[in-house]
């Protein structure tokens, strides 16, 4: 079940005109921003499929940039986000891609600054619901059917077992888990799909695990 909540259907509250091309796009941009954890100096936004064909009319461009500026789907600043990005000192480059993607509404976002870079691929599946399919060239095989979190951490002994131990203590069952890293000892990722909803107090507990740098809810 890709859609889990009544509010996936009645909602989101958003700035028009398109839930998949505007609200969904803003949400993908905001996930990228959350993962990057700061305002980037430069954002390269590559659009595929229907996003590539119709992005101007749908405001997909301003929505993604709005998301990168950390705006929610209903933020009335979205239509002006290109000017606001310029004011904030963020360079924005759009690239319209010819490649036919697996999903018609696909965007690849690359964020850069002096401290680092990040690459996120997201798809907007309709009604404002999104999936993140790729992070730093690591394919995320999320079914979208179960609640999932992404744990960004330093590749060190014991981090994975500490995180899974906390989930076990709260009687949360892991259905699927993937672990990957760029290089030994550097940034690593855990994608964990679970059977039950993960409450905020559990997230806070995981955040306190040494070497865990960030936790993102991928699917509520």
């Amino acid at each position: 079940m890709k859609y889990r909540s009544a509010f996936d259907i009645i909602g989101p509250v958003m700035i028009g005109p398109s839930s998949s091309h505007t609200a969904g796009a803003a949400r993908i941009g905001r996930v990228a921003r959350t993962l990057f954890n700061r305002l980037p100096k430069k954002a390269v936004i590559s659009l595929y499929g229907s996003f590539a064909k119709t992005y101007k009319g749908h405001g997909t461009d301003v929505a993604i940039v709005g998301g990168i500026l950390d705006f929610d789907t209903f933020d009335e600043r979205i239509p002006k986000s290109l000017e606001l990005a310029e004011e904030a000192g963020m360079e924005v480059v759009f690239s319209v891609e010819e490649m036919v993607p697996d999903h018609p509404n696909t965007v690849r976002i690359n964020l850069y600054d002096d401290k680092g870079d990040l690459e996120v691929v997201g798809i907007s599946i309709g009604g404002g619901t999104i999936e993140i399919t790729e992070l730093n060239s690591f394919k995320l095989k999320l079914s979208g059917e179960h609640p999932a979190i992404l744990v960004v951490h330093n590749d060190q002994f014991g981090v994975i077992s500490a995180v899974t131990h906390i989930l076990a203590q709260h009687q949360i069952n892991i259905g699927h888990m993937e672990v990957s890293r760029k290089e030994k000892g550097k940034m690593a990722l855990m994608v964990i799909e679970v059977d039950q909803k993960i409450h905020q107090d559990v997230i806070r507990e995981i955040e306190k695990v040494p070497n865990v740098t960030q936790i993102i809810r991928m699917v509520e």
Binding site: M1, F7, G57
Partner: protein, 291 residues
């Protein structure tokens, strides 16, 4: 958790509650929020819908200038007393148009299930409100009933124009609205499902062909037709008419039709009305050489 309309109706019948209640109970289970929090969240969505309709009925114009002002024209026409279709039906149509005109103008709306189809559910709700005099809670329940039917379509077919054509957007919205009207008017869960099936059957195959890629032409007027379709199907179901094809089979047919639809007719602005000479001229006027 219900996976299809048959299970949804079965649950409501066995528990002897409204469809809305099944959706609320499922939401409590899935979200971990309390009943009060969930009701309050939907109440806020309802408020956004009310504000959007009000704004649209005062007249808006989109950035492109392609749409806006039609809701105002319809309200004037209703007041002239010359309307042939009936005032409640036209009121639903004008309020659906009002919402979608606000959406096209990049105003604040609540997606139901999508932004392009955001007019149908609130449009019909606010029109039948004048006849049925629902409480605030009943109006909130209307939205949960819509959510329940939309949930089935979203998980078994699609609510994305890019994936399934406009049948997935205005089609889904109209089916959702029809089922909710039936429930608000005192119909049974089974009658609500019949209304959903009757509506969707008449929306199958609807292509998504936005002129210049904008959610304006034909989207705004399709919300009008979706609203009237929903009202008619709701009345048919309340009269005791049933769909010969069960609702879940209609939804599956919609999924298969969406899959076999060429991409030119799925929100790419490459075919249909977008590809007409006038569609192309408007596109050039709006975007010039840039697009």
């Amino acid at each position: 958790m219900f996976r299809n309309v048959a299970e949804l109706v079965e649950l409501a019948e066995s528990k002897q509650v409204k469809i809305a209640e099944i959706m609320i109970q499922q939401e409590i289970e899935v979200s971990g929020l309390t009943r009060e929090e969930i009701i309050a969240k939907m109440d806020r969505n309802l408020t956004v819908m009310e504000q959007a309709v009000e704004r649209g009925l005062n007249g808006v114009t989109s950035v492109s200038g392609l749409t806006g002002g039609d809701a105002v024209l319809l309200q004037k026409y209703i007041k002239s007393g010359k309307a042939l279709s009936g005032n409640i039906l036209l009121d639903a149509v004008s309020k659906a148009v009002a919402t979608n005109e606000v959406n096209a103008a990049m105003g604040t709306i609540c997606a139901t299930p999508t932004a392009g189809s955001a007019g149908v559910v609130p449009g019909t709700l606010f029109a039948v409100k004048d006849v049925l005099n629902p409480t605030r809670m009943e109006m909130i329940e209307f939205l949960f009933t819509s959510a329940a039917f939309g949930f089935v379509v979203a998980n078994n077919a699609s609510i994305s124009g890019a994936a399934g054509g406009c049948q997935a957007e205005v089609g889904s919205a109209s089916g959702m609205a029809a089922a909710s009207i039936v429930e608000l008017a005192g119909g049974t869960p089974r009658q609500a499902a019949e209304a959903m099936a009757i509506t969707l059957k008449n929306m199958l195959g609807l292509v998504c062909d936005p002129v210049a890629g904008l959610v304006e032409v034909p989207c705004v007027k399709r919300n009008a037709m979706g609203a009237s379709n929903a009202m008619t199907a709701a009345d048919m179901a309340l009269a005791g008419i049933t769909s010969r094809i069960p609702c879940d089979e209609v939804i599956h047919a919609m999924f298969l039709i969406g899959q076999s639809m060429p991409s030119a007719l799925r929100e790419t602005a490459e075919g249909g009305l977008a590809a007409t000479p006038t569609g192309r001229r408007l596109e050039a006027e709006i975007f010039g050489e840039k697009k």
